[in-house]
């Protein structure tokens, strides 16, 4: 068994704008089961950070407990990281973000970590619109404890246990839309062409961004009758749009048919181009997203892609009206008013 990755890379692969090779964004070798969807998501995160030329020290990865929450070890070895308590990743991220708003926060969670033990944290972090990417690696089972059904397992879906799920599933995407999350998307670990631009978009979004990624558990939930297996998802996948993320100062090279394509300029000058596949859907209209999601559910389809995005959103810092300087950089002199200032304040109450 291999414990370390070879250090050699492909000699012809280029470095990105900040001088790193894609390999520099990788982590140690994964200890998840071979073929785990989570590893594909890790690879998509690596690809995204390489493409966007993120300096590793500008990113913090945070996670809870579970197979999903082990993955930060397998990507971005040179970034900050915090493996927190089960279901408590959102509150740790909130603390970190409040202390230093200059970092990019990449939260990784799973269906158990978010939809069961961490549900309270999940809904509140949406409510607070914390500026972070929240990736749920959703496999519909508790893979780390022998594959019991999780709260996102679809009604009737059959995992390796052989017993159909008897409870209704929690749909994290529907819930997030209902809670007025400012960015909601769903994807599939086996579709990097969609997943990578979605993560890029989420990283650029100035508020809370949820990507619910269906990620098959090859060991416990990849049978023909599971709704979260590779084959079932591939057979039932439907996308809202083909997505193309064009970072600021880069040329637009993809051309879509007129009438179908939609360009959205982001707050930092980047552009997202969508080639709409779903009718009656507008990524900036929450109601249309909810309708479209419900329709797909009724038809037994799995709707993926960008569902909703509010480009004008205000994140927690703007809602709290904090100062521009990250709080952890404020020195004693900035935080302690002088005697004159105190005098001024007292005077104002007279």
């Amino acid at each position: 068994m291999s414990f370390i990755k070879p250090t050699f890379g492909h000699p012809a692969l280029p470095k990105n704008k900040v001088g790193y090779r894609k390999k520099d964004y990788e982590g140690v070798i994964s200890t998840l089961c071979a073929g785990c969807g989570h590893d594909s998501i890790s690879a998509a995160i690596v690809q995204t950070c390489y493409d966007l030329s993120i300096e590793p020290h500008r990113l913090a990865k945070l996670s809870g407990i579970g197979c999903s929450s082990k993955t930060p070890t397998y990507f971005l070895s040179n970034s900050h990281g915090f493996n927190s308590v089960h279901g408590r990743m959102p509150s740790v991220t909130t603390g970190a973000n409040l202390a230093n708003k200059d970092l990019i926060y990449m939260g990784v969670s799973g269906d158990g970590d978010s939809a069961s033990i961490g549900m309270g944290q999940f809904v509140h972090v949406i409510r607070r619109n914390l500026n972070m990417v929240y990736i749920v690696m959703n496999n519909g089972c508790y893979g780390l404890t022998k594959g019991q059904d999780s709260a996102t397992a679809d009604f009737g879906s059959i995992s390796k246990t052989g017993v159909p799920t008897s409870f209704q599933a929690i749909d994290l995407v529907g819930l997030a839309l209902e809670l007025k999350a400012s960015f909601v998307a769903r994807s599939f670990s086996g579709d990097k062409q969609q997943l990578v631009p979605l993560i890029k978009l989420a990283m650029t979004h100035p508020g809370f961004a949820l990507i619910d990624v269906i990620s098959p558990c090859v060991t416990f939930n990849n049978g023909a009758k599971s709704t979260k297996s590779y084959s079932f998802v591939r057979d039932h996948i439907e996308a809202t749009s083909a997505l193309d993320f064009v970072p600021k100062e880069e040329e637009i090279t993809v051309n879509y048919q007129e009438g179908q394509s939609l360009e959205v300029e982001l707050h930092d000058g980047s552009i997202v181009r969508l080639n709409k596949l779903a009718k009656d859907w507008n990524p900036r209209d929450r109601q249309s997203a909810l309708n479209r999601l419900q329709k797909a559910k009724n038809e037994g389809e799995i709707l993926t892609g960008l569902l909703y995005m509010d480009t004008e959103t205000k994140d927690l810092h703007r809602l709290l009206n904090t100062v521009d300087t990250p709080l952890n950089q404020l020195r004693e002199a900035d935080l302690t008013p002088s005697i004159e200032a105190l005098e001024r304040i007292n005077q104002s109450f007279r």
Binding site: K5, C33, S40
Partner: protein, 598 residues
Amino acid sequence: MKPTDIKNPEYFHKVVDCQYACPAHTPVPEYIRLIAAEKYTEAYMINWDSNVFPGILGRTCDRPCEPACRRGRVEEEPVAICRLKRVAADNKGEVKSLMPQIPEEKNGKKIALIGGGPASLTVARDLAPLGYEIHLYDEWNKGGGMMRTQIPAFRLPEEVLDEEVNYILDMGIHTHFNTYVNSMKSILDKGYDAVFVGTGAPKGRDLSRLPGRKEGDANIHIGIEWLAGVAFEHIENVGKKVIVLGGGNTAMDCCRTSLRIGADDVHVVVRSEYEKMKASPWEKEDAEAEGVIIMNNMPPKEFVVKDGKLVGVLFGHVNPVYDENGKRTLVPTGEPDTFIEATDVIIAIGQDNHCPWIERDLGIEFGKWDLPILNEVTFQSTLPKVFFGGDSALGPENVITAVAQAHQAAVSIDLFCQGKDVNERLDPMVNLVSQKMGIHEWMYDSAVADDERYKVPHADQKFSLKDRRMEVELGFDEKLGFKEAQRCLNCDIQTVFTTDRCIECDACMDICPTSCITFTSNGEEEDLRSRLLAPATNLTQDLYVSDILPTKRVMIKDEDVCLHCGLCAERCPTAAWDMQKFLYNVTKAHTGCISTVK
């Protein structure tokens, strides 16, 4: 692209770059693994079976395998394959009992081998175990041919040479030493069932038209003749100042030999640029390390003779100019000529084939450059019972090429003597075996070592320059040999893909450290090469293409920089990828040596 046909043995053979580049197709990674496992005897026998002279070649081979080594494409330097071969030879145990037994009862066929060099010896080794009565003729008093006469003892000790030559001569070969064959007719008249010519390229080129050549003759020598003279102790010393003309390996041997037998000021003067010299880079390095001065772009103009004695050589200065077709012309630079003082000059500017002893009315036809007209697969001449091999066959090459050709000639001779068609030859022996021992466990050491190429220790020049018999290279000891062996990427452990097991989870593509694997829509090769995860620009390396997968995509693997680390197979949930050891063995007339290859 069409799915790759991995049932064609040449596909995976080509992936084993070193073995594919070796004229004899020695299974290199197989013996390197055995060296790492301290199984030196087994490693030696794999070599012996394939290239016949592991100890000799482990010191002197031209190593076509090393520039081909995949390691050289992922980092600076290839694995020191050649010197690892020597590790096997140096540390082996008893090997004679593993070599084929010679039947007491002969098969009634008599074969004559003309020349006692690597080609003839290889034929002898391949045919003797089959019961042939073999007669070997050579002009010298010992076997080995150019390996004895042209390779100086400081590169190849006599004991090593004798040992490996004697393994063959001890197979009951009838040797006719000190016998210069001067007539092919006389040989044919003796009624041999077949005759093999392995007489090499024995004629060193001269510069007979250069002014002063005749007058200075006493101190002007022909490289290969001079080296033979030194080897047989007919020549014991040389003057203080020596000029060697020529830039090949013979020139390097001449200059280094000169330093050992009296010269203290040695120049190698070459017409071409340094980079274009024919000598192997390591030979140049070793010569320069001993104080030889190499001068380039200087063609000789005149041997300067004063009072009937050679005093030096006059050289012009040129610039090489290449036209669009890469053809070189040497254009004089206009600089004044340079005179270099010399007591002796050695001319080492190449060798020619020379077969004046073969009468031209016997039915053996000759073509361009006085080379025999041959079938290049069977090495049969236009006279069916006469076969050629080595330098005398297709022109001067090297020992390993001679061995490879001789194996084929031996197959032909055997078929010919049995009255069979020499063109009906057996396919190579191939084998493909899974290396899986359990989940994530392989039978080979799959980890990739980071180590840079290790240097072979050399003897102290204080002593080595004083004794022409003292071997300069000390060879890797067991410890260094192990470390160097670990650098081998095990390219013979093939990545084998089974399309209908793949669930397209991308795990292999994600883990591959060198981004070799891509799942994408099919297309033409040129188009595919441009849109893989990493562009496949090395056109000498194939793309491994799967059948169409359920998502209508195909798996494409660029073989170019695959590390054979097995991670794709380790991360594959369905064993669609498997690591399988590929063994390719050229079919020889006799492959009956006790096989150590499992």
